[in-house]
Subunit: 332 residues, 2 copies
């Protein structure tokens, strides 16, 4: 069972892997290469993964066999484990608990070589639908306080397999970064009685200089204080705290803007490594008035070094207005 440990100064939680620990030699190995021939996420290799949690698949095909468009499986090397109780304990001034949680992999397509810009809007719609299905299902487990959906694309962004996939981690605590956003939004709301994200969206749409894409329900823009070159935020225009509350009629709009934004990024930056992350409200937090879910895309073009780690203060060599103008030179 992994262990959760809390830093007594910053109150940051860390997952410590006690069972499959890595020693000095493990960090000196090159990453294993998975070609389409030995990829455990490719059709025909279903037995190499844990049994599927769900799939979108052709009629009359069986679970854990080919015929799927999307396949959700438990992570074979989970950061957190689904069974067990939290068992909170202390050692002197330190706090810890069992690493209980869920860690799933969403295999987005049977096509090993489909890049981030390779999806049609209907395909992306099925991916977004899968995110929703898993989010809503796991939200019912009362041990979980937060559900994080994210994608690591490319080795430099932390992906260990090339086959296109996203991940979902359900955690027994509300992560620190999420609490910071919620607290910032709460303070703004108490002062202004308006949602800070709604105000940002209004101001961005009116200024126009950082807008990357827009459709009926969503807007993609480069944040005013972008930490990274070509950082992009996709947000619903209507105020809504939880990703899980997205309506049937909005899902295609999210798929459309995600396709358009990723296509522009891939063309402008020649298929860059990137992460995207859905920021949503915690499962049980009452922040519906002031929090506003959104999706953050971070191309990984620069290295985070000592200054950033020590200060939480970022240096961005590409002003977001300039990034926007480059992105708009390419078709969506």
């Amino acid at each position: 069972m992994p262990q959760l440990r809390k830093d007594p100064v910053t109150k940051r939680w860390v997952i410590i892997n006690l069972e499959k620990s890595r020693g000095p030699k493990d960090f000196q190995l090159p990453n294993p290469v998975h070609s389409a021939d030995n990829c455990p996420f490719c059709p025909g290799k279903e037995t190499l993964t844990p049994p599927e949690v769900m799939s979108y698949r052709e009629k009359d095909t069986l679970p854990n066999q080919p015929g799927w468009q999307i396949r959700v499986i438990p992570n074979k090397f989970p950061a957190l484990q689904i069974e067990g109780d939290l068992d909170r304990t202390g050692i002197g001034l330190y706090d810890m608990m069992n690493g209980v949680g869920a860690h799933e992999v969403i295999i987005e397509t049977p096509n090993h070589k489909c890049g981030a810009a390779g999806y049609t809007v209907p395909q992306m719609t099925t991916i977004v639908n899968t995110y929703c299905d898993r989010y809503r299902d796991l939200k019912r487990d009362r041990r979980f306080r937060y559900i994080l959906i994210f994608k690591n694309n490319g080795q430099a962004a932390g992906a260990s397999l090339d086959h296109p996939h996203s991940q979902l981690i359900a955690t027994p605590i509300i992560p620190k970064r999420v609490m910071e956003e919620i607290e910032g939004a709460r303070q703004y709301y108490y002062y202004k009685e308006r949602c800070v994200f709604c105000d940002i969206i209004r101001q961005e749409l009116s200024a126009g200089e950082r807008i990357i894409h827009e459709n009926e329900n969503f807007v993609a823009f480069a944040p005013f204080a972008s930490r990274f070159p070509f950082e992009t935020c996709i947000a619903p225009k209507d105020h809504k705290a939880s990703f899980g509350a997205i309506e049937e009629s909005e899902i295609e709009g999210l798929a459309d803007i995600l396709c358009a934004t990723l296509n522009r990024l891939v063309k402008t930056l020649n298929d860059p490594p990137f992460n995207y992350i859905i920021h949503t409200s915690p499962c049980d937090e009452n922040c519906g008035e002031y929090y506003h879910w959104h999706l953050e895309i971070m191309p990984r073009l620069t290295k985070v070094a000592g200054f950033e780690w020590g200060s939480g203060f970022y240096v961005n060599p590409t002003p977001p207005e300039l990034a926007t103008s480059f992105l708009l030179q390419n078709s969506p």
Copy 2:
């Protein structure tokens, strides 16, 4: 002039480079290689850098000429600029100010090939003395609220030049990460009336299982909730909030434990990329009772991916007790 912009939700400041901005093509170039032949930090190449701020050098040698052991120069491509006023302004709900600050490079040795484990204790003592000299000098400039001293070692840790060097950045605001530590320490103090760092040091010394090195004035240990494999914290045993308050008699002790710890890391992990950062109290903050300066060393062995960025929640595959036992197998 660089621009400081504040994120309206998280209140995180970002430095945006408006003058030497980087477009898509700039991210596709390989890093230039600087061998000892064309290294601007090597002796004989002093004219390739801005004029030195100070140096430790042989008697009867002139500034900006060979004969130095340590040389401090303004960064040729500074993240912040020394001249000018802050000029705080707003645009709608956004806040910004001019990027006023100091950005210096401490060239630690004339020897291009001296690795992180290549220093004698007297050499490291001169490096620590230089950190103190520059810290105390810049602290007198009332525009600066924080002084961050750090080292990026190796390209994967963000170093753009191989020649051994550290950096110093003085900022006009107190960085977010620093405020978080101070706030955490303050809360603990109000509850316990003791410094949380003093309590951690006491508990670590008594438990022993995460102690990497110890001398009269300092202790090096693997933090209980280490975010990264082989993360190490060096702290003074006596309570002191500001690095600038280090006493003459303690400087050699810091040099000794820094040498010993880096030597163990380099031997155990085969010369890993790493960052180290001095965490100290802000210039004008009255946190003497509850803050405690320390130095954080972070080997860069794992990639930070979507989960960590989205949550501030880290997964560490190497328990700190295991890291300690590996480090202790090598001589200091």
